[in-house]
């Protein structure tokens, strides 16, 4: 999908839609309200992390030392909590000094955790500020992926109601609504744990 200019004012963009296109857009907002809300919530959280206003200290009474991949990590803060998932900023001492990591915690009784462990390292690095910045960038990449998927689902839902030509501005409006708060991507500098697995294997079905 061609991304409309980031500077395009959404309200101006929406005014260009015809009545039927506006109805289709409103239907998409209603049908995928949870997705729009989730994107908004995560976007806001990322802004708060960037501004250092949303980092919760490790909760009192909870064990703050995690055992991940054979090493002990001290939890410094909780970066995000979304449903069953929690993201922590952790720290450990090494021979070369301190090392930091961003780790995700899954629900203990989830099938995924049973097969892969309750904790998983997402990012590692020696500079906690940079690591936090890179975590925010990673989450924004994930938000873009989620936005793309939401647009695809809206497309599927509305495809039979209007022609592709008429539908395109609606899909652009949905995309713009979802990604309007996402800044442009910057270079990632810390080590991504799964960078070796980044290749995509797309299969047509």
């Amino acid at each position: 999908m061609n991304e409309p200019s980031k500077r395009t004012d959404l309200s101006v963009f929406l005014r260009r839609l015809s009545e039927s296109q506006r109805e289709a857009y409103d239907e998409a907002l209603r049908a995928f309200a949870d997705d729009f809300r989730a994107v908004e919530t995560v976007c806001q959280r990322m802004r708060d992390i960037e501004n250092n206003t949303a980092v919760d200290s490790a909760r009192e009474g909870e064990s703050t030392v995690l055992e991940i991949e054979g090493r002990r990590w001290q939890v410094r803060s909780c970066l995000m909590k979304l449903g069953q998932s929690e993201i922590f900023l952790c720290e450990t001492a090494t021979e070369r000094g301190r090392e930091f990591a961003v780790a995700e915690r899954f629900s203990d009784d989830s099938p995924y955790a049973r097969g892969n462990g309750t904790y998983e390292l997402l990012l590692r690095g020696t500079d906690s500020d940079r690591l936090r910045h890179d975590y925010v960038e990673c989450e924004r990449q994930t938000l873009r992926l989620m936005a793309t998927e939401t647009v695809a689902q809206v497309h599927e839902r509305l495809a039979e109601k209007m022609t592709e030509q008429k539908l395109k501005p609606v899909l652009d409006a949905v995309w713009l609504t979802l990604t309007n708060d996402l800044p442009r991507q910057t270079l990632r500098q810390t080590h991504e744990v799964d960078s070796a697995n980044k290749r995509r294997h797309r299969i047509r079905v």
Binding site: M1, A38, V42, L82, G83, Q84, S85, E104, F106, S107, D109, S110, P111, Y112, A113, R114, G115, N116, L122, C138, E139, Q141, T142, L145, M146, T148, E149, V151, A152, Q153, H155, E156, A159, E192, V193, D194, N197, K198, R199, R200, H201, R202, I203, R204, V205
Partner: protein, 114 residues
Amino acid sequence: MAKFIPMLLVNLEQFQAKQNHVVVADRMTLPPIDDVCGPQGSLTGGIMDSAPKIEDPPQTERLAYSVQEAADMLGVNYFSVYRLIQRGKLRPCRALRGKLLVPRTELLRLLKTE
């Protein structure tokens, strides 16, 4: 002779799986998740546990699931599934109009039950 029976059963399952593959790929349709996974959304529930009804059409094995269905099966938030895809730990397919589908084999691999 007895040791060949399990092999025959495995081959029969593989054959049936191939047959199902062809049917699903030709029709490009996916039955509702409960048909396969049962109400709890477990991979081993559904058709494996329930007796087939005579009036039901022949059931086919799902080859792929939506992101939300994959999240339900893995027991994680659906944003975590997007995160797994983004990190390259879960390799999705693209269906019509670019919609993401998570292959059953990928789910089994992640659950380490393959």
